[in-house]
């Protein structure tokens, strides 16, 4: 028997693994190919076998024809719920994660969610994993519903956001491009100005607007580091807008959001002690110590708020990208 035929059957067998009638299927394919190869002009040769195999089709495609008849993992009617329920669950998960970071406590929503005590950086690593867990959990439930074969009407609250129904107002091609171009020019100017200020003063944060006598807000070390990170964030936004002139892909937003979140995380890892320049620090010391910590907390809360806004936008973009992929896969 031809080695090529055996290799071909072995490959089909691999894709059919787990099927009880696998041997029967392979015997029939073997019978067909040998029959066809023997009938051609000349003898029963490897070349004839090869030709018969080519006519029968690639192993994976052949196996899939046999697997077609089986029930899908998730019925088409329930696929929309994969996105809907994952969006809901992950929104809850993300909100509780932000709360856990802010309270510096672990949170349990038995038996659905457990969020350990996390730092901001931990949360950035935790959230993508949480998204995959939520997606997997919802997929598992829908899988069992599909396999049960019952017509179960899944609930979906009226007040829930259905991304299919939320469509951005239709803008003309040129209008949206012009808006993006204007945004890109503004961000480019902001980034340039920030770079110019940084090159001259080693910081972009000041307590006055007197261009002849600019006084820095932060001490030189932290001021330089935080300025560089903020300039990087400006640059990322500028780049995203420039790329969006060429493509409207949501992936641009996903990447831009992720980098921005990582940069905010980087700011939060900077030590905030001795943050303010001597002039401000002196003013703060005149007041009770609580005022100094209040100033630091205000910066932290502002950063967390910006991070939350970016995270929400990131989730929205990930859901939109996933939905598009699912729709293509249907």
């Amino acid at each position: 028997m031809s080695d090529k035929l055996e290799a071909y059957l072995e490959e089909i067998s691999h894709f059919l693994s787990g099927r009880a009638e696998r041997e029967e299927i392979l015997s029939e394919i073997r019978s067909h190919i040998t029959e066809k190869a023997a009938e051609g002009p000349g003898e029963f040769t490897d070349a004839a076998i090869e030709k018969a195999i080519a006519a029968f089709g690639p192993a994976r495609k052949v196996a899939e024809r046999y697997l077609d008849e089986s029930r899908p993992l998730i019925a088409p009617a329930y696929k929309r719920f994969l996105v809907r329920y994952t969006s809901l669950l992950f929104t809850l998960h993300a909100a509780l994660t932000v709360l856990a970071v802010f309270l510096k406590e672990e949170l349990v929503l038995f038996p659905l969610l457990y969020i350990p005590r996390l730092s901001f950086i931990d949360a950035l690593i935790y959230l993508p994993a949480a998204f995959l867990t939520d997606l997997g959990a919802v997929a598992l439930v829908l899988y069992f519903i599909t396999q049960s074969g019952k017509d179960i009407k899944l609930p979906w609250p009226k007040f829930g956001i259905d991304l299919d129904e939320v469509k951005p107002p239709a803008k003309s091609f040129w209008l949206s491009r012009v808006a993006t171009a204007v945004g890109a020019v503004i961000m480019l100017a902001v980034t340039d100005l920030a770079l110019y200020l940084f090159a001259r003063h080693q910081t972009i944060f000041f307590i006055n607007l007197d261009s002849d006598n600019l006084r820095p807000l932060f001490t030189p070390g932290p001021g330089r580091r935080i300025s560089l990170i903020v300039i990087a964030m400006f640059a990322v936004s500028t780049m995203a807008l420039l790329v969006k002139l060429v493509t409207r892909s949501r992936w641009v937003d996903v990447v831009s959001n992720t980098i921005s979140l990582a940069l905010i995380g980087l700011i939060l890892t900077q030590p905030l002690d001795n943050l303010f320049a001597a002039e401000i620090a002196e003013k703060l010391q005149k007041h009770p110590p609580k005022v100094a910590s209040w100033a630091k907390n205000t910066i932290l809360i502002t950063l967390l708020f910006i991070a939350l806004m970016i995270a929400i936008d990131l989730v929205k973009n990930i859901v939109a990208v996933s939905r598009k992929k699912l729709a293509k896969g249907v």
């Binding site: 019978s31 029968f56 024809r65 008849e69």
Partner: protein, 118 residues
């Protein structure tokens, strides 16, 4: 440009859809006489129709699973061959499918005549 590409008819996938039903009737009609897979492919070929080999065998398996055809291996020749034959349930199904098919053809004929008179 993109819209135009999206709206262009994909005749290949539509033909595949149409063939799926037709192939059921064709196979059930052919199997009035015992036949093995490769012989069916060749016979259909001589009638001026082409059936994909890797489509025929899974279809035969599904029809057999539903009890509309039955099979048995013939080991008396040089090469083993799996012969198929229609069952009583298969004949009933074939009659039903042929009725549907004839009615569809009649409707299409009527409409074609109506269009030609417009």
């Amino acid at each position: 440009m993109t819209d135009k590409t999206q709206n262009e008819p994909d005749i290949g996938s539509l033909v595949t859809e149409m063939n799926r039903g037709f192939l059921h009737i064709l196979v059930l009609a052919l199997l009035e006489k015992d036949m093995y897979g490769y012989a069916m492919v060749k016979h259909i070929d001589t009638l001026g129709y082409k059936v994909e080999e890797n489509t025929l065998y899974p279809l035969l398996r599904r029809l057999e699973k539903n009890g509309w055809i039955a099979s048995k291996w013939d080991l008396t020749e040089d090469r083993p061959r799996k012969f198929y034959a229609i069952t009583r349930e298969g004949r009933t199904l074939r009659a039903g499918l042929l009725d549907v098919w004839k009615n569809q053809n009649r409707v299409l004929d009527e409409i074609t005549k109506e269009i030609s008179h417009v």
